[in-house]
Every structure is written in C-alpha cells, then in structure tokens.
C-alpha cells in the first residue's frame, strides 16, 4: 500500500485544501495521472499520482485540508487489505480537519478544536493558537518592542526574517534592517510622514467597509512596498512607431491562422520577443542587485503581468529569447488562462528576470510600473494611439506607442536604460528582426 502525501508546492505553502478528488475510491490510477485538485495559498493545482494501482482510500475528503507531507490517500492493489489504523483513523482525522474548517469559518471554538486536533498543550491551556497554527493564516510573529521600533521608523517588517524562537522577529532583527537602511539611504532623505491619525479617524466607521486582505493582496503589498522602498526607481520613456509592427502582426496572424494549431499573436507577444532579444544583447539589464554584488542572469525569463479579479499575478515566459513569436503567443495564452483559472504552479510565476506590464488595451497613454523584485527593470507599455507626427517636414497621423522603462538605479544607470530602450525601439520599428 503506497501513501499519497500532500506535496509542497511553493515555499510559502504550509497546507493544501482538497478542492476535488478527480479519482474516486476504487478507481484505477496510473502513475502521472491527476488524482486531485488542491488549493494552496496562491494557486489551484492538480496533483499527480506517483504510483500506479487502485485508489483504495481517500483520507482527506473534498473541502478538507492537510499540512505538507500528511497522508491524503492510499494506493494499492484491488484486494490488498487496508491497514487497520488507517481505515478508521483516516476518517477521524478527516473529520477533524473538516471540523477545523467549519470552526474557522464560523469563528466558533476554533481554539478548542485546534488544540484537540493538534494535541497542543499550550493551546489547550490558553485557548490560543500556537505560532505554527497561526502562521498558515499569514500572521507575522514579532516581539512587542520590535514592532514598536518598526512602527516608529515606518519600517514594513513583513519581509524581515525573524531569528527569535518560532521565527519571531525580535528587536535585533529590526535594528539590523534599520542599520542597513541607514547605510544605504543618504542621511538627507526626507522622512516619510505617517498618515495623521486624525485623518483616519475622521471618517466614520459607518461610512467604510473593511476588506480583509487576501493572500495575494498581501503579497502584492509586501513585494511592491519593498521594491519602492529599497530600489531607487528612475524612468525613461520612448515613443515607438508601430506602423511596421502592425503590418508584421497582420501578416503573421494571416499565416498563423492556417497553422495546424492556429494561434493569434498579440502586440504584447511581439513586445515580449523584442524585450527578450534586447536583453540578450544587453545582459547588463538582466541583473539583480544583491547588496554587495550584481547577479547577472544567463537566461532570459520574461514575466508578463496578468490582471485578475482579485489582484495581479506575473506568470513567466521562460527562455523567451529562444522561442519563436508563435511559441511565445501560445505560451502566453496558456499562462494567462492558467492565471485566470487560478491554476498556475509556483514555477509558472517565479524566476522572472524582467517584466512587461501592458495597459495598452485600456486607453492608457503611458504609465510607470513598479519593479518586480528581485528584477531590476520593468517595461510599462501604453496604448497604440494615432498621433500627429512630422514626416519629411509634413504633419501626418501615424500610430505611436509610448513605453516607459522603470529601472533600479542601484543596478542600472541612465545611459544603459536609454540604450536598452533604443534597442527595443529599433526592434519594434524594424520588426522583421523579431522573426529571425
């Protein structure tokens, strides 16, 4: 009898929730086949079987959760007897997890149920959750004085690694971050003023609705605050003639329509390709700043920002420089679809080396984007707009697109950014090169 365990799918995952069992008890399962759909803190994902046989026992029912490594099912031969302990124990365990879920939802007696489920002495004594329990809900453990010092210094401590017991952030950790900041930030930097308390309290509670942060919103807040606070952004904007690009796109799409797997290439796909080629030509933009050194990435993985109802996620087109335009189009559509259905795997949205953010479809002239750390630059793409321009001394109307490159000045200087943008512009204005 083989045990199926809850797999770890991403660094932050602590437990997974079974959304759906694709296979039922008694079903034949082949190695590599999907067993169940699991929801993690970030994505929904289908987990595959590592064994072939019959799915003998489901230990965690749909809707139940299990920590990483916990047994969730048993696979064996059709006539193999179930272990005694499993046949009853599994059901009990599952019932407990469901109970926990229920309790967590209603907010009733969650402490009690948790403590019974975990056999946690402290929880039993006090009715409070142990750090490990609460950690999965995203609470940050920080000592009172560490929090006070962080708040006095307007320090976002959500990214600080705690070195105290249970990973608690202690005073020393905050002081280390502040000391580091002191070194990197010039002393003349104006202190950010806190939002006046009165301003917040002036709004009557009845006039507001409090929306708890989703895990995604929290991640966005944390990463982008960190980005803006630690990397000095500067912006370079370029206006690009998209006439030839539009012609090329039309030709490609006429061709691609009749491909065995027809696909439609978007402007963004062409921009991604141009950026990828530019990064190969100018690897000094394909870097991460690591305090005492620069890390130059040998591979070009382009992140593309995808808007979702509840936020935003940046799936990554791997080795975009080595893919054809059609391959990029197919991959970007696949990733966007996975993103919209919440099925991206962690490896689908990590490891990017540069990001393209495109708001062109929303009639945006131009905008600046926040760098997606640990990357060092991001390209913000505006709408293609009919624009009066001077050609051969005559004012005529031509399509133009504004792109703005945000760069981390710690890693990239102004001239590098400008030359990189020139490269992109050249590639998009003479787009035949994108196909070669």
């Amino acid at each position: 009898m083989k045990t199926v365990e809850m797999p770890k799918m991403g660094d932050t995952m602590e437990e997974g929730k079974i959304l759906r069992w694709i296979k039922q008890e008694g079903d034949q399962v082949a190695k590599g086949e999907s067993l169940a759909e699991v929801e993690t803190d970030k994505v929904n994902i289908e987990i595959e079987s590592f064994a072939s046989g019959v799915l003998r026992k489901i230990l965690i029912p749909e809707g139940g959760s299990a920590p990483i490594g916990a047994s969730i099912a048993l696979i064996g031969t059709a006539d193999e007897p179930l272990p005694d302990s499993m046949s009853s124990n599994g059901a009990v365990k599952a019932a407990v997890t469901q109970e926990m879920e229920k309790a967590a939802k209603t907010g009733e007696g969650s402490g009690r149920v948790l403590s019974e489920a975990k056999g946690d002495y402290r929880a039993k004594q006090t009715g409070v959750q142990s750090p490990a329990d609460a950690g999965s809900q995203g609470r940050i453990f920080i000592s009172p004085i560490a929090r006070r010092i962080a708040e006095e210094n307007q320090l976002d401590y959500s990214g600080v690694e705690g070195t105290g017991p249970n990973g608690r952030i202690i005073k020393l950790d905050i002081e280390a971050v502040l000391a580091q900041k002191q070194e990197t930030v010039a002393p003349s930097t104006p202190v950010q003023l806190p939002i006046p308390e009165a301003e917040l309290t002036a709004i009557e509670a009845t006039e507001t609705i409090e929306i708890p942060l989703t895990a995604m919103r929290r991640t966005i807040a944390k990463r982008l605050s960190q980005s803006m606070q630690t990397s000095p952004h500067f912006y370079v904007t370029s206006v690009i003639d998209t006439g030839k690009l539009a012609d090329l796109r039309r030709q490609i799409n006429e061709y691609a329509q009749n491909e065995p797997h027809s696909v439609k290439v978007s402007f963004n796909d062409l921009i991604v390709k141009a950026v990828a080629i530019a990064l190969v030509r100018m690897p000094q933009v394909n870097v991460s700043f690591a305090e005492d050194r620069l890390i130059l990435k040998k591979q070009v993985h382009i992140g593309m920002a995808v808007a979702l109802e509840q936020g935003l996620i940046v799936p990554v087109l791997r080795n975009a420089d080595q893919r054809s335009v059609l391959a990029i189009a197919r991959e970007s559509q696949r990733l966007a679809e996975l993103a919209r259905t919440g099925k991206l795997r962690p490896e689908d949205f990590s490891g990017g080396t540069f990001t393209v953010s495109n708001l062109g479809m929303f009639d945006v002239d131009s905008f600046t984007a926040v760098i997606n750390p640990p990357e060092s630059a991001i390209l913000a793409v505006g709408s293609i707009t009919p624009t009066p321009v001077v050609v051969d001394g005559q004012v005529v109307v031509r399509d133009r697109m504004k792109v703005t490159l945000s760069s981390d000045h710690r890693a990239i200087d102004g001239v590098t950014a400008a030359r990189f943008l020139q490269e992109i512009r050249r590639l998009l204005e003479e787009p035949f090169g994108l196909l070669l």
Binding site: S143, I145, T163, G164, P165, R168, I170, L172
Partner: protein
C-alpha cells in the same frame, strides 16, 4: 565594614530597636530561654527579661491574636512564628484582623505588628515545612510583605518594619540565616525602606528579577553568564508588597527581556503576578516572553536527591536567560 551573618543582623536590629523604644517586645515559641529555633533571639532574654522576651504556647492563632491585641493596645510586638507554614493557622487573624482593622474602623486603630517567619525549602523539612507562601499574603491589601536576602537588607528592613505603623510580614528563609554579608557596625544607624527593590548587579542583556534565597543563586548564575558575555541585571525585589514596579520597569525598558527566578511554585505565585504587571505596563518594551524559574510543581519531596531536583538551581537560571537572549546580541 564588618561581615556578619543574616541571623546576627536580625538580632542586632531587634536589640537596637528594643533599646530605642521600650514599647517593643518579642514573643514566640522557644524564643526566650532557648534563644529561638534559629537562634535569632539568643541572649535577648538575658538582656531584656521575660517582660519583653516572651515564650508562648504552640498555638499560632492564639499568639498572633495576642500580638495583634498588644499592637492595638499601643505596644509594638515582634512576633516570631516558627515557620511560615504554621502561619496558616494564624492566617485568619493576619488576613481578617491585622490587615483590616485600620481600614474598617475609620482609621482609628493602628496595628504596628511585625511577624517574622522563615519560609522555603532545601533543608529536608518535608512537604509541609518547605513552602514559599509569600504570595498568599502579598495578595491581601493591608499587609506589607518583605523578604530581604542579605544581612544588610535584613537589618535595615527589620528596623523599618518595626517602625512602620502597619502590619508587616517579615519573611526569612531557613537557608539564609548563615549567609554572611557586610553590615555597618552595631549602633550605626541605618534603615532600608520597605517599598524599594534594589539592582544587585547591573547588566544590559536581560533583567533577572528575584528575591530571598534565590538572589544568591541568581547572582552565581549571572557570574557564569558573564563569562559567556551575557550581562544580566539582577533585581532583588526585597519587598513583595508594595512592589517596586518603577525599578522593574526601568530595567525592563533597558534590557527588553525578563527572567523571574523564585523558589516558589509557578502557578498563581509571586512571579506570575509580577509578570502580569510587566506585561501590563511594559508590553511595548518586551522582546521575548517572560521566562520563569520555579520549584517543580509538586509538594516538596523529603528525599535529599529529589528535593535538590525540585528546587530551582543555577543552571535553571542560566538556561532561562539563554532561551531569550539571542546569541547575536552578545557576540554580534
């Protein structure tokens, strides 16, 4: 300064006060001819006579009542109970009479009573005779509870207790009587206030709060910690009630970490009450949860080996400190 024992310091305090004020007298079991169970009153009977040094029956309720009555009548009794364990027999009088009369009767009567009694274990006295019960009395408004740990403090605080117009429970420790320390010469007047703790050792990494016999264990632990670079600030409470909370908070605000080292049991004792005060008033200064060092949560075993295992020791204090002082703070 000369060095004398805790026992001698107590005797000097009693004698000097008796010479100063003839309303002061001592009473208790075997304190006269025998000189007291722990020889604190040795020689006083010979010097002051039976009017002022009175042996009593083995009847704690009766003799405590008599002492309270004497105090009400204008005398200043120093009552010796053989141990704090026996004071439970007299607890109704202490809690319901001594602590309340001044309050209940419009402030008219005063009870200038001192009750001396040792507590604590470590001398194989068994479960019934080894208890730290100070928190029982410190719980009561109207009582002062002090527990000096050094000869100097013992003499100075006993004098203050005798002069105080309120009932003061002066709790000694069986294993403190032979502890030696520097005390000014006999007849050199000094007192130690009843509401002030003292920093017995300065440090910046952690505050260890302690009292009575555990002060000496804690100071040894602090020495050992210092060898590893951890500088512990050791606060001797000296007084359990009133508690010198300002002294404690000042130290906590400096070190951000607290270990409470006491000989009594953990649950609902002096340490836990103190911890609650610290959390209430210095929460925003804490960098780690307060650590407690206590006796094992059992009636004191009679067996020498088990008794030693049940009592908190130097290693317990060292380990509690190390649990909350980050290595990087010391060596970083």
């Amino acid at each position: 300064m000369r060095t004398i024992t805790y026992r001698d310091a107590l005797r000097e305090a009693i004698r000097e006060e008796m010479l100063r004020d003839e309303r002061i007298f001592i009473l208790g079991e075997d304190i006269a001819g025998y000189g007291g169970t722990y020889a604190v009153s040795k020689g006083l009977f010979e010097e002051f006579g039976e009017k002022r040094v009175r042996d009593t029956p083995l009847a704690e309720e009766a003799i405590t009542g008599a002492a309270i009555g004497a105090a009400l009548g204008g005398l200043r009794p120093i009552l010796e109970l053989m141990t704090i364990n026996f004071s439970l027999l007299a607890s109704d009088l202490l809690v319901n009479s001594a602590a309340k009369f001044h309050y209940m009767f419009g402030g008219q009567p005063q009870i200038p009573l001192v009750v001396r009694m040792p507590g604590g274990g470590g001398a194989q006295r068994g479960a019934q005779h080894s208890q730290m019960l100070e928190s029982w009395y410190a719980h009561i408004p109207g009582l002062k509870v002090v527990m000096p740990a050094t000869p100097y403090d013992a003499k100075g605080m006993l004098k203050s207790a005798v002069r105080d117009p309120n009932p003061v429970l002066f709790i000694e420790h069986e294993l403190l009587y032979n502890v030696k320390g520097e005390v000014p010469d006999e007849g050199v007047e000094y007192t130690v206030p009843l509401d002030r703790g003292e920093v017995k050792r300065e440090g910046q990494h952690v505050t260890i709060i302690t009292f009575s016999r555990m002060l000496h264990v804690t100071l040894q632990a602090a020495e050992e910690l210092a060898k590893e670079g951890i500088e512990a600030e050791v606060i001797d409470l000296r007084s359990i009630r009133p508690i010198d909370i300002d002294l404690i908070l000042d130290s906590v605000k400096k070190t951000n970490r607290v270990v409470i080292a006491e000989e009594g049991w953990k649950y609902f004792g002096t340490g836990q009450g103190l911890a609650a005060l610290i959390y209430e008033f210095a929460f925003d200064y804490m960098d780690a949860p307060i650590q407690h060092v206590n006796s094992a949560d059992v009636p004191m075993p009679y067996s020498k080996v088990l008794e030693r295992a049940a009592l908190p020791n130097k290693s317990d204090v060292v380990n509690a400190v190390k649990a909350i002082v980050p290595q990087a703070l010391v060596h970083g």
